[in-house]
Subunit: 367 residues, 4 copies
Amino acid sequence: MSMNSFGHLFRVTTWGESHGPALGATVDGCPPGVPVDESMLQHWLDKRRPGQNKNMTQRNEPDAVKILSGVFEGQTTGTSIQLMIENTDQRSKDYGDISETFRPGHADITYWQKYGIRDYRGGGRSSARETAARVAAGGIAREAIKALAPGVAIKGYMTAMGALDIDRSKFDWDAVDQNQFWIPQGPDIAQEWEDYLQTIRKEHNSVGAIVEVVARGVPAGLGAPVYGKLDTDLSAAMMSINAVKGVEIGEGMNAARLMGTDNADEITMGSDGPEYSSNHAGGILGGISTGQDLVVRFAVKPTSSILSPRKSIRKDGTPIEVVTKGRHDPCVGIRAVPVGEAMMACVILDHLLLHRGQVGENRGKIG
Amino acid sequence: MSMNSFGHLFRVTTWGESHGPALGATVDGCPPGVPVDESMLQHWLDKRRPGQNKNMTQRNEPDAVKILSGVFEGQTTGTSIQLMIENTDQRSKDYGDISETFRPGHADITYWQKYGIRDYRGGGRSSARETAARVAAGGIAREAIKALAPGVAIKGYMTAMGALDIDRSKFDWDAVDQNQFWIPQGPDIAQEWEDYLQTIRKEHNSVGAIVEVVARGVPAGLGAPVYGKLDTDLSAAMMSINAVKGVEIGEGMNAARLMGTDNADEITMGSDGPEYSSNHAGGILGGISTGQDLVVRFAVKPTSSILSPRKSIRKDGTPIEVVTKGRHDPCVGIRAVPVGEAMMACVILDHLLLHRGQVGENRGKIG
Amino acid sequence: MSMNSFGHLFRVTTWGESHGPALGATVDGCPPGVPVDESMLQHWLDKRRPGQNKNMTQRNEPDAVKILSGVFEGQTTGTSIQLMIENTDQRSKDYGDISETFRPGHADITYWQKYGIRDYRGGGRSSARETAARVAAGGIAREAIKALAPGVAIKGYMTAMGALDIDRSKFDWDAVDQNQFWIPQGPDIAQEWEDYLQTIRKEHNSVGAIVEVVARGVPAGLGAPVYGKLDTDLSAAMMSINAVKGVEIGEGMNAARLMGTDNADEITMGSDGPEYSSNHAGGILGGISTGQDLVVRFAVKPTSSILSPRKSIRKDGTPIEVVTKGRHDPCVGIRAVPVGEAMMACVILDHLLLHRGQVGENRGKIG
Amino acid sequence: MSMNSFGHLFRVTTWGESHGPALGATVDGCPPGVPVDESMLQHWLDKRRPGQNKNMTQRNEPDAVKILSGVFEGQTTGTSIQLMIENTDQRSKDYGDISETFRPGHADITYWQKYGIRDYRGGGRSSARETAARVAAGGIAREAIKALAPGVAIKGYMTAMGALDIDRSKFDWDAVDQNQFWIPQGPDIAQEWEDYLQTIRKEHNSVGAIVEVVARGVPAGLGAPVYGKLDTDLSAAMMSINAVKGVEIGEGMNAARLMGTDNADEITMGSDGPEYSSNHAGGILGGISTGQDLVVRFAVKPTSSILSPRKSIRKDGTPIEVVTKGRHDPCVGIRAVPVGEAMMACVILDHLLLHRGQVGENRGKIG
């Protein structure tokens, strides 16, 4: 049991603090023979990297990942892979004044109450910087998935930010990588989102968001009842991301509003197997994948670090007004997109491996 | 690793099918010296028991739990506890006609695709009947919590069913046990809910629901970053319940709509420690409890077993219209309430034990 | 994490006390489609069953196993299997006088010191009766191994008992099932062993033994460095058996006495793959199987329950002379043989499943 | 589940290969507030370090450990600790000629058969160099034990090497650190051991050894039946060390030779609690510590890398005579001593934490 690990067979353990010398992930259980190099992982880290535009924190980290073990001559060896990212832009002085103070909405107070000691610099272990290690591990998972289930495609995007929602009638899968918000919408809408966010930022405020992650081409049969369900593992994976307060599969919370007649995804026989009239289930029935798109959504709360003063207390119990300076994202949901993708990749790989281990070739045929 | 287990130190493994001879739970890691007897557990099982009124399935199961191990002379011994519930009212013939058919919205098709064999009687392992074992295990957890953290109170209730929502201005904690829907509302509102549900039932339909589970009196400091977070474990626990499609902590999905200035739970110093101006966080910051109420919500989809015909296929791929006879709940959300409570109890006990193991007496003091 | 469980993918959790209503095992991770029925498991339980001859305790237990879940129409379904054995011959009165006393060599004192409560009847959870559940689970493992790796044959036998050793020059694999000691020797030697043990028994004494378990036909490549090594898991499995004080792989403790030139198992190329000049390694190199025979040995201490008085104390610290009446084996090593076989079967199945999950088809070819 | 991890609550995951850029350990579950710095860990690493005298490999590694996370201002924070040791003296060319060859007694062949790819340089992941990471983690464990159970003292020493045994009548606990063999004997005997080993080395041979590790002052009550027994975990921990072929607790394999009357450790009441007439049990009854000395022994096979030619095959199946050049220990048992100590420390800390988590203050009193 490890509190810093997730996954069953593909098991990722992360380590490191926001302002320590480095952070990283120990990745265990990756099959051997998967082609991996640092540039493949860097691609995904660059997507999450801070400082790329004014919608992000201006902290300037190259987030260069080094592979220290488990890869030999460009291939995984089946042994534990160590991924390390060194911290370079650590302005600890930005954080010195919070050593005795609890920032509202942050884990400062709970880490102190739990442990009696905390690395307060930039939130220490509770910083979202930890998610860089997840993205690196997710890069490994993506390469391994290519080898095991080549048809899988994973994509994350924002569907809401504060008062804004995407227009699903204009949904454009290919547009996601074309804008700074990872929204599946054209440039006009992206501009509206930017204007909206900059207004919030200038008001010394922040805003929440909803991220949706979809996996296409996932084979039927992944997931293991009743506590290793695919949706159980996905919800834990997403909820473990900093600032996430809700997770939905398929219809999500809205399922509460539906009648049974509406919610049924009716089944017909297609040329390649079962087909469904709809996907309220989000691709999962009884914890096991149906072969439809896996659809997961999660809500990210607004960044707690804002320039507007908020009431709090010091360690000694005296009152203080906290204004969080430093370099912060006005909407952490944006950078949560590649993190959600990475978690999706890790969970899918894990269940591909589990399925191979526990089930083998006797899967039920239909038709 | 076990796919039928959850929990770290307090670990519950369930077994059994809907129409097998029995089902139950192996409960490992309960501290010794906790007073437990069968009647204590039966109290909670009776709350979940089918056949109690016309809002429920008319299957008539006594759900009598037997303790087969781990309890001696009325106290837990610290060794593994076996809880067994025998199935008595197994009308398997109700299910014979589904052996070759996949009911829409059920796990029939995915179990078949995964395993190539399934106990089709009543859904077999995928039946919500499995949750009886969780409720029994939750009863153990409740007694152990009393010994370790006497102030904890756990209560679940419905907050929405289809088009209906509770009126939070009339919230009545004590009314929850006074009506068949476990709603925190007076008898007039309960009557409206009943009329609404009976209409749906008579229309051969079903409806979804939202369940909220609150734990009061949970000490600060429970939860273990970054993948054993209290909210991570709670969301996995709730998502593992049959038919659940979404899980929220505190503000939940609505956090996406808030500004940072609104979402901040401001902190002041009270006579007993820190106090918060609000509880958007649902009692958890950075995965660790703040000492505020823990607030978890989950959405239950409408019962898939309905008398209205729905299109599906047989194993051989031929089309069929499925009308699910048998005895089914028109809103499974009702009986999910005691299950949600049980999962909350298990997770809290688990983290109380973890906290004792890993942290000890050096918790940070405030003030 | 569960203290009553072992295995990674094939995970067995046992429960039950010597004199409770029943004991059993929850078996998780068995692949679907394995033909299993109660009589298959009973075969192995009968081998371990007490009361069969005068070399065993005269407790008379049918040890009839019931399958309560996870098997449907004669095949495993891939879901958790519950195996239950009811206790029938519980003469608790034999044990009433030990409720306040600690028997030397037993866990009475340590359970009390750890838990502050113990089911003293027949040792409660610490009784070797728990191993009946392992044997039942091992029966499942054997059937699954047949499906996955048909060539595997597992056999256990005694190699020493007190002053006696088997004569390896007369080793007879087929004779093992022909005598009461499970020794690979002819009837004359078996008679000598019986005379020796009866003398010890009549002297109100007991004696230790060495058990060797061999698995033939295990494919190369099982085992997972560096803490899930095949030998690591085997040693843990054997050491967890009651009364075991030492475990050896291949050359075992004697490896300390060898020179490197002697210990090398030289490799040549045979028609079916690599062949070895010897098997000092016991079939394992670097934690991974070589394809040679797996050879594990373990030492079982003499039964602590003897009729000869031994000094001890009561709970209140006062001295007492303990004479353990009741019905006890003069050499528990005999009945440890089927237990050792069961543990070997469980570990091999577990690693067959792991290997499938983590490695797949890209195993290295030789020649 | 992770194949590169051990421990329940104190969980160590190692990574790295013999000739990669670095190796290390991710240490999870260390309590907060434990004073730790790099020099404390370096002390133990120096004890294991190669190149210190002619009884060791002449590879010259500083084995300097860096703490990359989990320690802040000299204290552990309760979050995951990353320990990294960079490899500096990597003469990979020594190993180039083994890329196509399987060295007898090494894991070359099994890694190849399992994975189809291996980092052949110095054995890659299968190299005993991995144990440096264990020793570093063990250093953390030692400091945490000081905080939780200050009276514990752990010491390892050799008791046999080839034909030599220590003379237990001259046992000298304090002499262990005074000689190059970590033997509890005076300088004369140490000189005999050196002469013996140098003769073997000059004959291009190697030799096995027995290491005993003792922990004094361990409180009664550690260990968790029935698969998390203290002896089960200790045997797995020791068996996971490279080249170990047997593990004994207390009387060990010799228990097979004893009568029940001899093996009983009789109990009397002393001023500080129960006292025992002997320690055949090695400090463990029923998997739980008695408060006596914990005594574990393990056998290390002779170094497989020797200058004497041995028959083997190449990947293509052709025969070859292997002479292993490079820089190798003539008796790897010597450097296994600090590794055994480290594993003992990790297991004891783990069970101290478990005991706190699962049992609390209701331990049984005696007298």
